[in-house]
């Protein structure tokens, strides 16, 4: 086991022991201490699963060379691979991902792996964590680790270069390798844009559904109270029909506009992802038959024009892009609501005293500060996202223009 991993496990265990000791000392007479002790153990194990980075093997070549070679091999095997400085991120199932790290070890590279989750996987883990008190998420986290480990052992290890990275050769192989890399990256971006937009579309349906139920109930209560003496109140059917009609009248335009906005985008991203996937499949099996696509090169060039749109769509799924910040906003908002509720309870229901009034005010100020913090954080996230969006578009168009000029100049000089 690597020293770093051992240190992480030892430090996590020490923190756990210290917390449990504190709980036993101060809540020893309360039977709940057992619950908290087990809870801390589960939460620590949960975190460790995604925190430790086990060693897999040693590969020949510098970390950059090894990761590039590995990325290409995995793309050829049709895995979705994201290259990041010093590591790769590979999606192995719709929920599970693996991070592969390469660290220089003399002339070779030490290869390490780390369990990870896709945005959908993280969402599920967070939901299980929040609603299962830490316990329910643990088996799922363990499943991620087992899948990651099996993938590393069965798929990654055999792909690791031993005895030197084959130098890029000028010939059919090299052209095909580059086409596969470009198609795979294009497909990854289109598929991620599709998944992020589809997910937002489903979230919107959920919000509309909850909103409709809420609206219906508000309308029902308002009518029941407001029309007590009216002729309408004598027939209970009206009390059901009118709220339903109000809800439908508001819901239908919302559903229509949601569908109108999302559907064409989802279809477009899916179509692009499918086209690129088919071309990638064709390339990986060395198929030479005629296809509806005129050429892989042309398809890549067309797809690259769409990249800023895909990046923007992916970025809009910002909860999964910055889960930490969104979790913080969510937690602060819940605490702020609780503080306001406590302040109201203190002020309204308890025996009035100057001390309690001060406490109510303190709680309200705390809630206001938290809401202000949430707003600032949200404002900052949105500002940064917009800035990134415009920079991406500018940067990407510049890259394409430079590439196009380079190609045209080359052809002119032939």
């Amino acid at each position: 086991m690597r020293r770093n991993n051992l240190l992480k496990i030892v430090s996590a265990t020490l923190v756990n022991v210290a917390l449990i000791a504190l709980i036993v000392k101060y809540a020893g007479s309360n039977l709940n201490f057992l619950f908290y002790a087990v809870f801390f153990i589960f939460v620590t194990l949960w975190g460790l699963i995604f925190y430790i980075i086990p060693r897999l093997d040693t590969a020949t070549g510098t970390p950059k060379e090894v990761l590039q070679d590995l990325a290409h091999r995995l793309r050829s095997a049709r895995y979705r691979v994201t290259e990041e400085p010093g590591r790769l991120s590979i999606q192995i199932t719709p929920l599970v991902a693996v991070k592969v790290h390469a660290v220089a070890d003399g002339a070779n590279s030490e290869i390490l792996y780390q369990a990870d989750a896709t945005p959908e996987g993280w969402t599920l883990l967070v939901v299980l964590f929040l609603f299962g008190d830490g316990f329910a998420g643990f088996p799922m986290a363990l499943y991620h680790f087992i899948k990651a480990r099996r993938f590393a052992e069965d798929q990654l290890r055999p792909q690791l270069p031993k005895g030197g990275i084959p130098r890029a050769k000028v010939g059919a192989g090299d052209i095909r390798d580059r086409l596969i890399d470009s198609l795979s990256e294009g497909h990854r971006l289109a598929a991620e844009a599709y998944e992020a937009t589809q997910s937002r579309y489903e979230d919107r349906w959920l919000i509309l559904g909850c909103g409709a139920v809420f609206l219906w109930m508000i309308a029902l209560v308002t009518l029941s109270v407001g029309l007590q003496d009216s002729i309408l109140a004598r027939n209970p059917a009206y009390l059901l029909i009118i709220p339903s009609a109000i809800t439908i009248a508001i819901l239908v335009p919302s559903v229509w506009s949601t569908r109108k906005w999302f559907k064409p985008r989802i279809d477009d991203y899916r179509e692009w992802a499918d086209r690129l996937r088919k071309a990638l499949e064709k390339e990986t099996v060395h198929e030479t038959t005629e296809s509806p696509e005129s050429s892989a090169f042309e398809l890549i060039a067309q797809a690259y024009r769409q990249v800023p749109t895909w990046l923007e769509a992916r970025r809009k799924g910002s909860f999964s892009r910055e889960p930490g910040a969104w979790m913080l906003i969510f937690t602060c908002a819940i605490i702020a609501v609780l503080l306001v509720m406590f302040a109201i309870i203190l002020y309204s229901f308890l025996i009035w005293s100057f001390g309690l009034l001060i406490w109510s005010l303190v709680l309200l100020i705390g809630a206001a500060a938290l809401i202000g913090f949430c707003y600032l954080l949200y404002f900052r996230l949105r500002g940064r996202a917009n800035e990134e969006g415009s920079r991406t578009l500018k940067d990407w168009n510049y890259r394409l223009d430079v590439m196009h000029q380079k190609m045209v100049k080359y052809l002119e000089e032939l």
Binding site: P85, V170, G171, A172, D174, I175, R178, L179, D181, S182, E185, G186, L189, T288, E290, S294, S295, A296, F297, E298, I300, A301, Y304, V307, L311, R315, R321, E388, R391, T392, D395, R399, L400, M403, H404, K406, M407, V408, Y410, L411, E412, L414
Partner: protein, 97 residues
Amino acid sequence: MVDALPLERPDLYVLARHLERLWRENEPMLKTRLQVAANVNYDVFNRYLSWMLDRNLVALENSEDGHERVVLTAKGREAYLKLVQWINEVIKEELPK
């Protein structure tokens, strides 16, 4: 022999289509098949063929059946490789998150 109006400036994508088809075929290809694969009319095809022949990107071969076939030269393969490399480099640069 190809006899067509000279092509002033080839369209990058149409040219890449020709080169890619020949690269995939990996052997001499009938002119008509190449024209269909490149999805251009006969006149345009002849102009592109002439342009590629002038620059030694492709060569013509006479086969036993009397049909002329087009084959990709080493220079043509290298030209296509360069185009593919450049397009690959665009995505290889770090993408924004």
